[in-house]
């Protein structure tokens, strides 16, 4: 398998060259183009392994879709091109046994050696506005995640606060909690609201734009829906 990411950072597109028999799992709706040698199977299972219905439901709650697509180079080598729905960057991360926590809508795809699971973020995540579940990527192999805007990687050593709408992914070892941005007045009127406070050592990826903020700004200018 060879992965090349083109047109970074605004319009990133991942071109994945698959050898015969190789597979790649993607988010539903991410496929842009593919060779006729590829076959696609739509499943609620993570990697054709255990799970099924429950995993699909959990993924749905986490902000991803119920179904994933599994592409297989069944009739010879082939090329699969995938892209996220929003404009922005794609980051490749090769897992070597560690675990990454990924914000629901940022997961784009992975190779079969990677296990995708859903993690209950606890009650604190309920208030984060980012869904109750995070996705959990573990195992070995390449994984792709996408951002709205550019991806800003930070090597965390200590603590850092991030607006909940800008979180993309972080190493599992990093501790986090949801807190107010400041006092009650600032929390209510700053338009910043709640933030995630990350604590510890590891990598943290954030996106330079916030989909909800962008949607809110443009949405206010659109006419109301007809009933």
């Amino acid at each position: 398998m060879h992965i090349q990411i083109d047109h970074k950072p605004a319009f990133a597109l991942a071109n994945i060259a698959l050898e015969p028999g190789e597979q790649f799992i993607t988010e539903n709706g991410a496929m842009v183009a593919m060779s006729p040698t590829l076959s696609v199977e739509t499943t609620s299972r993570a990697t054709g392994g255990k799970g099924g219905l429950l995993k699909g439901l959990k993924r749905m709650i986490s902000g991803e879709s119920f179904f994933n697509n599994v592409f297989t180079a069944s009739a010879g080598p082939g090329l699969l091109s995938i892209a996220p729905s929003l404009i922005g960057d794609i980051t490749r991360h090769d897992l070597q046994g560690e675990t990454l926590i990924v914000q629901g809508s940022s997961w784009l795809g992975h190779a079969p050696g990677v296990e995708l699971d859903t993690q209950f973020g606890g009650l604190k995540a309920l208030f984060s506005g980012e869904g109750v579940f995070f996705l959990k990527l573990s195992g070995h192999g390449p994984a792709l995640f996408n951002s709205f805007g550019a991806i800003h990687q930070m090597d965390l050593n200590g603590s850092f606060l991030v607006d909940t709408g800008h979180v993309v992914a972080f190493d599992e070892g990093i501790d986090y909690k949801i807190r107010k941005v400041g006092g009650w007045f600032a929390t209510l009127f700053s338009s910043e609201g709640l933030v995630m406070e990350f604590q510890g050592q590891g990598r943290l990826w954030i996106q330079s734009r916030n989909p909800d903020e962008f949607g809110g700004l443009v949405g206010r200018l659109l006419p109301p829906r007809k009933q």
Binding site: A150, L161, H166, V218
Partner: protein, 230 residues
């Protein structure tokens, strides 16, 4: 305060590093992330003290909110016990530019393009008059004066133009311009081209000074999206 603008032009984000005693005012909702020693305080943005000053600040903020399309409150960030960083980015996809305001080099900013400024800069709402009503860009321009660092954002990339004489810009593309320029909203041509050219009303600048325009127009994307809504 040190600054670095990253991921230009499509997804620009400003990394502002402050030492204790320094602070920066940021448009509400623009904070991406910050060091945990940064303290945030939210104010109406007025500079006058006392009860009367606060009332004034409240109404100025209300005017900014209603006519300027900005949030009512400004957030002030200051580090405690050591240097601190705050990352700021606008909601729209686009560029950020740094414009140092020095005495006498004041700047008019299209109201939604304000991103951040250091405390030495005064930001006032300027009533653009009826002409800005017809410009379709909200009723208010912001006027930045004083001394300090100003950060302005755009939808799309920013083109800097040295105006010497006269220059015409689609009003939806105006980001900011220096005080030395005279400004007027008018028709693009005769009645026929105003109605049929798709250009509508334009801003005419006259004099000498810098003009900043954006490559994209928020009104255009809104117009394009509207018929696609269910």
């Amino acid at each position: 305060m040190q600054h670095e603008i990253k991921y230009s032009p499509a997804f620009a984000m400003a990394e502002l590093t402050l030492t204790p005693g320094e602070s920066v005012n940021v448009e509400g909702g623009s904070m991406v992330g910050m060091s945990s020693n940064m303290k945030i305080s939210t104010s109406l943005g007025g500079t006058r003290r006392g009860f009367f000053g606060r009332i004034l600040a409240f109404f100025a903020a209300l005017i900014r909110k209603v006519f300027g399309g900005e949030t009512m409150f400004l957030n002030n960030y200051t580090p405690e016990g050591g240097p601190g960083t705050v990352l700021v980015a606008p909601a729209l996809t686009g560029q950020i530019i740094h414009y140092p305001i020095r005495s006498g080099q004041n700047l008019y900013i299209q109201s939604s393009s304000f991103l951040a400024s250091t405390p030495g800069i005064r930001i006032k709402t300027r009533w653009g008059g009826l002409k800005s009503l017809f410009g379709g860009e909200g009723l208010a321009l912001l006027y930045a004066s004083g001394d300090g660092d100003l950060f302005v954002n755009s939808y799309g990339d920013i083109e800097e133009i040295d105006v010497n004489g006269e220059y015409v810009v689609d009003t939806g593309h105006v980001v900011a311009f220096e005080e030395s320029l005279e400004w007027k909203v008018g028709k693009v041509g005769g009645l026929k081209s105003t109605l049929l050219s798709g250009e509508g009303l334009v801003s005419r600048f006259r004099g000498r000074g810098k003009l900043y325009i954006q490559t994209h127009n928020l009104g255009a994307i809104v117009q394009w999206l509207t018929p696609l809504l269910p």
